[in-house]
Amino acid sequence: MPVVFVHGVNTRKTEPGYAARLGLIDRFVQKHLAGATLGGVAINSLSPAFPYWGDLATTFAWNMASLPTGHVNALGPAINNRLRPLIAAFDDDLSNSASAKQQPLLTVAKTKTLPHAVDLISALLLETAAENQADVVADFIVVAHGYAEANPSPAWLATLTTDEQLLNRLVTEAKSSAPPGVQALGVLDNVLNPLAAAGASFKAAIQSAATSILDRSGDFASTKLLAWQRRPLNETLGRFFGDIFIYLDTRGDKAAPGPIPTLILDALDAVKNDAPANDPLIVIGHSLGGVICFDLFSYFRPELTVDLFVTVGSQVSHFEEIKRFKTSNPAIHAPQKAPTPANIKRWINIFDEVDIFSYACDQVFDRVIDFEYDTQTYVIKAHGAYFEQDRFYTRLRARIDAL
């Protein structure tokens, strides 16, 4: 059974962690969908195809030079823009983040849970690991999530005093089930270096921010901190709306599909052609990827049978509310429901209330099953967090089994 993952807005191969994120989705899908059936047919081919349309999406002629910069210049390396939302979330998460700056990861693990810390560590790894570390990073995240979900508050946490101990212990636990073989008289696993780098980067960033941002009281969190993390937030929002405009402007029509529909339809055709006849098709659409897929299935290729359509953090219902699909019918509105295209046999829509880019669907469409999922993250991070979390796939599997 072919699985196709259509990415959403804000996805670029040049962004840190792109390859690792694909590797992570591939591993999680294989781990959690193994043995699942759909309509009585076993899911056999679980390695997803990832059609990439990011190169066809938004570019910025001035590289977002229009964004205001911060008020303070440092005569040295500034805090990595991509770490700023994580630091802000860290601040939100803890009652006194300034006091936690010495051991931020361990503090999260102890004051919240190990899965919270692993979420943070995973996000850091994905943001900081080099491209050639994608496989080792993806492997580690899958195993670490599995361990943390099974052991949310292990007794050994109380014995640790440093972030470095936590990272080492996580790797040790992740390796504990590894088969015996050859030992090295050195570092126990290749992931230790990217982990140590991620941990050190985060601690340094937290400590740097703490001296100027986090430990100031009053309105700082709600005003200056927001400004401090504005650039990465604006980049996200800028690409979000930019990618939507580009898609709508260039999608073409059925007779002459635009480059993005063409690219994704070609990928769908390729996996269908490679799969055995009558093998069902699963399409997972994230964010705008779900919107694009809905457009493809409802208008561009209504004859393509999709056995399971999974939209995650997507805006399909929002686009239907504003009647932006090719097949949108302005005459259909509340309390009616728009029809789910007949070629979509099953449709699961997943959203997180914290993810401001995600929407519920079952008040707008018929035949869709809404599924609320809590990423336990924060506003901006939530939109991309689903696919980095082991528990997301556990729950998706449960929903598929219940179909």
Binding site: R169, K175, G181, Q183, L185, G186, V187, L192, A196
Partner: protein, 374 residues
């Protein structure tokens, strides 16, 4: 007790040239990952290992039973072993002392003093355990990383030790570093990394031969199979037993330079056989006669010319009654230590995928590699 042989300090010969050995093998790190003690504040990604225990005993056993040098017989074997256990010796089993920093300092002083009693002595230092490298090579004793003290208080600065040993009278000094030499990222983040060189030397001190043999090249890891002797330890023992031997007059001798070449060649073959990224870094730095052997031995590394042929090949190597056999499906190349001389190599293909062949080849140390079959 760290003196394994002879039984007492008083029995140590100090008025003639002798080899004095100091073997440290650490396979228990209570403060590193998986250890029984309070964890190090920064464990550096280091975990428990088993190979040093087997390696340390194998090295001590070789010294006690196989070392042969009429010009410089064995004088003493000092050994620290973690976890401590009985070490076989000619005087019966001797309980080894654990390889803590304090015990290493004490044993090192005794060893250096013995080594310094005669310029003709050979000082033999073998360390097997965790190592890391930054501005220097650090060797880690059992109690490395004790969170109750400065993280680097219990560590050996090997580069400093080697330099400091210039102050020792023994003019042939052999150092074997069976440890990793990589630089974990976590180590780069550490300030004030400094180990204890255990000794010092002055500008005027020098030795004619200070040979160091590292189990791996700078920046890389050293390996060994679980619960067995490390690959470097295996290669070293093979070399000392004759793979590194060269003819000097009527004798077959292993010297510091021949050992360097043979070690590199042997590790390369072990890397092929075990498909591990094994390397080696010999630094002979002076001529020294180490060991005499009855005759030369060879690392025979026999395989076909392609992996496809290897998979289906049946290889038989024979010399008289001695045979080595690798049937189809078994890993190739065959890598074994054998006597030098003429050997018959028969390569057949039970599935008739290629033409069979039988050839006679002369195996000469250190390595015989491959046949042009098919």
């Amino acid at each position: 007790m760290s003196l394994i042989w002879p039984a007492t300090e008083a029995e140590v010969v100090t008025n003639a040239s002798r080899l004095h050995a100091f073997v440290i093998a650490v396979a228990d790190y209570p403060h590193l990952n998986g250890g029984s003690g309070p964890p190090a504040l920064e464990p550096l990604g280091l975990t428990q290992v088993t190979t040093p225990r087997f390696t340390g005993l194998a090295i001590a056993d070789w010294l006690l039973t196989r070392y042969q040098n009429p010009l410089c017989p064995l004088g003493s074997v000092e050994m620290l072993l973690s976890p401590n256990q009985l070490v076989p010796s000619p005087n019966g089993p001797v309980p080894a002392t654990s390889a803590t920093m304090a015990n290493i300092e004490t044993a090192f002083s005794l060893w250096k003093r013995r080594c310094g009693t005669d310029a003709g002595n050979i000082a033999w230092f073998y360390f097997c355990g965790h190592g890391v490298s930054k501005d220097a090579q650090y060797l880690l004793p059992e109690n490395y990383g004790d969170p109750g003290v400065f993280q680097w208080r219990n560590s050996i600065d090997f580069d400093g030790l080697r330099v400091g040993m210039r102050s020792c009278a023994a003019q042939t000094q052999l150092f074997f570093v069976d440890a990793c030499r990589e630089t974990p990222f976590a180590l780069l983040t550490q300030l004030n990394v400094q180990g204890n060189p255990l000794t010092s030397a002055s500008f005027a001190d020098s030795v004619s031969c200070s040979a160091a043999y590292y189990a791996t090249t700078p920046g890389r890891q050293a390996y060994g199979p679980d619960n067995e002797v490390t690959y470097f330890g295996r290669a070293l023992l093979s070399c000392l037993n004759g793979v590194a031997a060269i003819k000097k007059g009527p004798k077959w001798v292993v010297d510091t330079y021949s050992l360097g070449n043979a070690l590199g060649q042997t590790m390369a073959q072990l890397a092929r056989r075990h498909r591990q990224p094994l390397s080696c870094n010999p630094d002979p730095s002076g001529m020294g006669r180490i060991n005499e052997v009855q005759g030369p031995r060879v690392i025979a590394a026999v395989s076909c010319t392609s992996e496809i042929a290897d998979t289906v090949a049946d290889i038989l190597i024979s010399q008289g009654a001695t045979t080595l056999h690798s049937p189809p499906g078994q890993p190739k190349p065959i890598v074994e230590e054998v006597e030098a001389g003429d050997w018959t190599i028969q390569v057949s293909f039970p599935g008739n995928q290629f033409a069979s062949a039988a050839v006679v080849r002369t195996f000469m140390p250190p390595v015989f590699e491959g046949v042009e079959v098919p």
